[in-house]
Subunit: 295 residues, 2 copies
């Protein structure tokens, strides 16, 4: 396999689980009909972004893996012969939950999971309340179309995560996301945040000479706790080439699925010209495992 | 000290050592008169970019530290009461050379040196022939205006270098550089490379919430070996804020000195909102010290 026909599903979520899941499944079907062999859904695409509040009642949204959602994704993947990257609020056991990306193989089997390693906890994004830290490390998931370096949202701000996926053989970086604007911020600040979000992800493509896919939810979601202005999820899902150039990008306002063909040979070509893996000073990186380098 | 008035000297070099040095010294003087308390020169600002060819005769350009060039920079720093970041082709002993950034304190003392850690070796950039790998690690240099995370050119492509400087307390990232276009490449490819170069550096500012300065030489330099088209150094020296936004940038064609004021308090403010240092998974980064993670 030297090229991937990828579909990025930018979705707007509502309070109705079935409606969200149906939309995801419909997009898998439609994308496959348009020739996609990889469909990437958003982070937590079966619900509103419940992490805006800390409330025990949201734990009822969690489900096991395998479970109802992965079963549906599996059936769709098999029926349409596509690899699917989905996202599950995983109930691992009583009282232990994760924010987990799942990869379904085109024969319906579960190719692998990635439990979100970097977990945010900020106003509007109270994820540390819901999710335990991932404990599988940064391990790409082998599929019939390539080795997928699946990471999730907040991971996208950490160059370490992308690098570890690349060193472990990822051929493509994938970030299902849920990030947006505080409607209370002014346009300048909103633009600044969006730019930083794009730039840091483009940089992972550049530093590792890997193509990169980021899907993001779109639309306004209210904060049910009433403590904040809610979040205007900024969409703008995108895909880059191996030099970080954004080759396709969705809008900031609409649910839409965008398509792009990825040439997996580009990484070898780009790395021959930009040989970072050759020149990394691995003898001098030990302190990356420290919280801070004290005097 | 909570703010730095920085001057970025984008210089065009010629074959005449004295002319190059005089230009650098003139810019230090002029910048200080305009209120700068930090002047950042380019990589190897006293000579043409000799690494376009591999030739023993270029070793005669090297000099010790302290030596003639650092003495001149020191005198200028003291006279004009500014901190100066310069660059020296360092002769450490017979047969041992480095590409070394030097920091002169505003009282003329040598605040510290940084020997380039990541050394390129690519057509037109035969640095591994001239320079031994730096052996001082990634250590910021304490000055009266702040702790400077001085790195050099090729280092700018490695997120590890910026992160280690940040963890060691750098308040500002500084990259004296010498990078340009192959005149044989078409405009699209040239633009792609320039964009990647800017993006990856912006990302270091973002990932570490540090302001960042990059100075680059400008102008066309011939390849004296006659093997290539030479290099059109692309200038475009720039400075970013702590969210990676480029706030000032020089042209692609002219030698010029640009100025910007850096608010060192911005890092604390930005880190409170974007707490990456809080959330780094240091328990899972060990493999960053590997060349490749084999199965």
């Amino acid at each position: 396999m030297t090229s991937i026909h990828a579909a990025l599903v930018q979705q707007e979520m509502c309070a109705d689980y079935q409606k969200n899941v149906d939309y995801s499944l419909d997009q898998i079907s439609a994308a496959a009909k348009k020739g996609a062999n990889l469909v990437v859904l958003c982070e937590l695409h079966s619900s509103l972004y419940f992490c805006q509040e800390e409330s025990t009642h949201n734990f009822s949204l969690a489900q096991p893996i395998p479970g109802p959602l992965t079963n549906l994704l599996s059936t769709a993947a098999k029926q349409h012969k596509v690899v699917v990257v989905g996202s599950v609020f995983e109930k691992r056991t009583e009282g232990l939950y994760h924010n987990t990306a799942v990869v379904l193989e085109s024969d319906g089997s579960l190719a692998g999971t990635y439990r979100k390693m970097h977990i945010p906890d900020d106003p509007g994004y109270y994820e540390k309340y819901y999710f335990a830290f991932g404990d599988q490390g940064f391990t790409p998931i082998q599929t019939s179309i390539g080795k997928l370096g699946v990471l999730v949202c907040w991971d996208q701000w950490f160059p370490e995560a992308a690098r570890l996926m690349a060193l472990a053989g990822a051929q493509l970086l994938i970030y299902p996301s849920a990030i947006g604007w505080d409607p209370g911020d002014n346009k300048t600040e909103q633009h600044r945040q969006l730019e930083a979000w794009q730039t840091i992800q483009q940089s992972h493509a550049i530093a590792n000479n890997l193509p990169l896919i980021c899907t993001n939810r779109v639309g306004y979601e209210k904060d049910f706790s009433g403590r904040s202005n809610g979040i205007h999820f900024w969409g703008q899902s995108f895909i880059t080439d191996t030099l970080g150039k954004i080759t396709k990008q969705a809008s900031s306002s609409d649910a839409e699925t965008i398509f792009s063909t990825i040439d997996l040979n580009e990484t070898e070509q780009t790395r021959q010209i930009w040989p970072y893996l050759r020149d990394r000073r691995i003898d001098a990186y030990e302190n990356l495992s420290k919280r801070l380098i004290d005097d």
